[in-house]
């Protein structure tokens, strides 16, 4: 009954998972709103579809699956345990006699002598052998790989380990990011999604960032030289590239992005320069009158503009925005919807407050409270970069990896090894003995028939 439920759960998890691949996950609310309309947006929001793999109902399905695997395994393991851990395996001669496939040949000696010849051979292939007297002569029982009956429990345990490791990671680990300009150091990072600041307990400095390209212009390597600093003393240094992170005190630093620093402006330290979830102050200037006003908003929250200018909403934060092939650094992307016109995309680079004047719109929009910079590309004396690091800590990884190894070994045992038993019965005859070879396995019965045939041929040719 429980197995039926497991299958139902497996299929419902598979089925619902599809939804999360059709609806992009963890996007800006405003983008969802525009894509799906109000009703669907609200419905999906309530159901947690926008982050469905972390929604209560999906986690609940995973929990149910786990409980089911545990219950089913415990339910069955006691029976398997009794079969696997016996001192003297029992063989039921009549069961072997009833098997439909039998290999029969004539032996040139009496049963006892044949038994002495056969036993070492059978033992070589099967390990455990036992000779028993029968009413008509004797028989050799042999078996191997009894323990492989436990393989399936290893697979189930491995799934539990994966889920447990995942849980440990989400409870005691974190996933964040930090941008560090060359030559500067930070002591904290920002947690992804929540935007909270997390203090590392040590400092990390970016000594140098380098990017190299192939001849065709595709990026070849991003390399950051990082130094770990404890109480003002450098303790560890490493060059990291994608696929080769720095690991220190359980915290991992991965090369994830990079950007060019605006010249003659220093990066605000400690935290990434912009907080995607925080407040943004926007400056609106009427081009004709020159009058300006400021409005505070957050990402995705539309603001009503006075004087009939319509609505404005910031839909996206871009770490390294591009304009005509130039990297113009951090920017917000917004949508301006005039009262009587079509929505317009508006790009607001943080470091170029006059950028939006180029649009020649009635209203010039800029992000306030940012260090301004003259809008002159390509005239900088020297280019500074910042490195973008993904920072993670996951104490569950070892448990997950143990689960991985166990799953591979367990699957191999479950699929390709079986508990094999053979019976070689030798019946006393007048001149010759009659030898009957039979065998069973708990899995892959066709393969077992082949093995019985081969064993029989081997014995017949002795």
């Amino acid at each position: 009954m429980s197995v039926k439920l497991t299958v139902v759960l497996l299929l419902s998890i598979a089925g619902t998972s599809i939804l999360g691949t059709i609806v992009p996950q963890n996007e800006d609310p405003a983008a969802y709103f525009r894509a799906y309309g109000e009703f669907v947006y609200r419905l999906f929001d309530v159901l947690g579809i926008f982050d469905m793999y972390h929604s209560w109902w999906f986690q609940f399905l995973l929990l149910l699956l786990t409980i089911n695997i545990v219950v089913c395994s415990i339910d069955r393991i006691s029976a398997t345990w009794k079969i696997v851990f016996v001192k003297n395996p029992s063989f039921n001669l009549s069961r072997f006699r009833n098997l439909s496939q039998k290999e029969t040949f004539a032996g040139n000696h009496p049963p006892k002598a044949l038994g002495k010849i056969y036993q070492p051979i059978v033992s070589k292939y099967f390990g455990y052998t036992r000779v028993e007297q029968t009413d008509q002569g004797l028989c050799i029982f042999a078996e191997k790989w009894r323990w492989t009956r436990l393989g399936v429990y290893a697979v189930h345990l491995s799934v539990i380990l994966l889920l447990l490791g995942g849980l440990m990671g989400s409870l005691f680990g974190f996933e964040g990011f930090v941008n560090i300009p060359e030559g500067e150091k930070v002591d904290s990072i920002r947690i992804r999604n929540t935007g909270k600041i997390h203090y590392l307990g040590f400092e990390i400095k970016c000594e140098d960032f380098n990017i190299s390209f192939y001849n065709n212009g595709a990026p070849k390597e991003y390399r950051s030289r990082l130094t770990i600093i404890e109480k003002d003393t450098p303790v560890y240094q490493k060059d990291i590239i994608v696929n080769d992170p720095l690991r220190y005190k359980g915290v991992n630093f991965f090369q994830s992005s990079y950007g060019k620093m605006p010249s003659n402006s220093t990066f605000k330290n400690e935290t990434p320069a912009t907080d995607p979830s925080g407040e943004i102050t926007l400056n609106f200037t009427n081009r004709k009158s020159g009058a300006s006003f400021r409005i505070k908003t957050v990402l995705g929250k539309p603001v009503d503009l006075s004087e009939g200018f319509g609505k404005f909403v910031i839909v996206e934060y871009i770490k390294a925005a591009e304009f005509r092939g130039q990297n113009i650094g951090e920017a917000y992307k917004g949508i301006l919807t005039p009262t009587d016109g079509n929505p317009l995309d508006v790009l607001l680079p943080l470091h170029f407050p006059n950028f939006d004047r180029m649009r020649k719109g009635a209203l010039v929009i800029s992000v306030a409270d940012q260090e301004a910079e003259a809008f002159n590309f390509g005239e900088r004396s020297e280019q500074r970069y910042y490195t973008g690091l993904q920072v993670t800590k996951d104490p569950g990884v070892l448990v997950v990896y143990a689960g991985f190894i166990m799953m591979i070994i367990g699957c191999y045992i479950t699929f390709f090894m079986s508990h094999q038993r053979v019976c070689i019965e030798i019946i006393k005859g007048k001149a010759k003995s009659r030898v009957i070879v039979t065998g069973t396995a708990n899995k892959n019965k066709m393969g077992m028939q082949q093995r019985v045939k081969k064993l029989s041929e081997k014995l017949a040719n002795l």
Binding site: L11, A14, I18, T21, K220, S256, V400, C411, F416
Partner: protein, 279 residues
């Protein structure tokens, strides 16, 4: 001759092999079956040579890497794997009828790789994220799994055809292997594929963890590989615990292979919210 030319020729050799196997099924001439086997072997030789040449060529270009890095290269590897696994099965079961259902899949994959305008057969340098030894382990294991599932799919189709014609009215279908053999072979291939799919997902997870610091992030490709895994896990449980066999297993195997195809090709078609494009 460049590796791309050689692999294009291999496509035609696989086409010929598929043709011989189908002709063998239809005209019942053992000679045609043997021709099929030899042509397929010949094709595999070309396929392997093409992969090796491509590997060497990439080093000559100064961007040396194993030829397993894009859609073209993976399809070429996929086709070769299907043929090799099929030839092993053919030898073990001493039956060439199955070739008519296995080799066309390899031919189609190879033809798609060589001829589709959407697939670029140029050797490209590896972007930083792909520069990892896990790439080789990940791609090889995934495609061993996919190839086994492809053959299981072929066996399932044969099984269903056979079941439709139980009385043996059609002399074509009467030449198929016994239902029991097809069913068992389907199951064997699914187990083989499941093991390799598991290893493929695991190597991918370990790789992701060493590149991005997260072994699982529910992106569409990952999720679809998991969906595929769940479908085959369902098949295996239905078989091992509830004793399902035959038709129901064949249908599950077909559904599983559809999921494989979607994981492979379909994920790229999923819509995104970024339709407003760049400024």
């Amino acid at each position: 001759m460049s590796s791309s030319n050689l692999l294009s020729i291999t496509t035609f050799i696989y086409g010929a092999a598929a043709f011989f196997y189908i002709a063998h099924l239809v005209f019942k001439k053992p000679l045609l079956g043997r021709l099929g086997t030899w042509t397929a072997l010949f094709g595999v030789a070309g396929n392997v040579a093409g992969i090796v040449m491509r590997w060497v060529e990439s080093y000559r270009l100064g961007i040396g890497h194993a030829p397993l890095s894009n859609m073209y290269e993976s399809l070429v590897f996929f086709s070769g794997t299907i043929i090799i696994i099929y030839l092993v099965v053919e030898r073990q079961y001493e039956n060439r009828i199955m070739g008519a259902f296995a080799t066309p899949i390899a031919f189609l994959a190879m033809a798609y790789a060589s001829m589709s305008p959407n697939i670029n057969d140029r050797i490209q340098p590896l972007v930083p994220a792909l520069k990892s030894n896990w790439l080789i382990a990940h791609v090889i294991t995934c495609f061993l799994g996919y190839a086994a599932f492809a053959i299981a799919f072929g066996m399932s189709l044969m099984y269903l055809f056979r079941q439709k014609d139980v009385e043996g009215k059609s002399s074509l279908i009467a030449r198929f292997p016994k239902s029991q053999v097809l069913d068992e072979l389907n199951h064997q291939m699914v187990m083989f594929g499941f093991l390799f799919l598991s290893v493929g997902i695991i190597t991918g997870a370990v790789w992701a963890n060493s590149a991005w610091g997260s072994y699982w992030s529910w992106d569409p490709k990952e999720t679809w590989s998991l969906i595929t895994w769940f479908i085959y896990a369902t098949l295996l449980h239905a078989r091992m615990v509830r004793g399902w066999y035959g038709k129901r297993i064949a249908y599950l195997s077909i559904i599983g292979f559809m999921a494989v195809l979607f994981t492979y090709f379909g994920v790229n078609l999923l819509p995104g919210l970024h339709s407003y494009g760049s400024v």
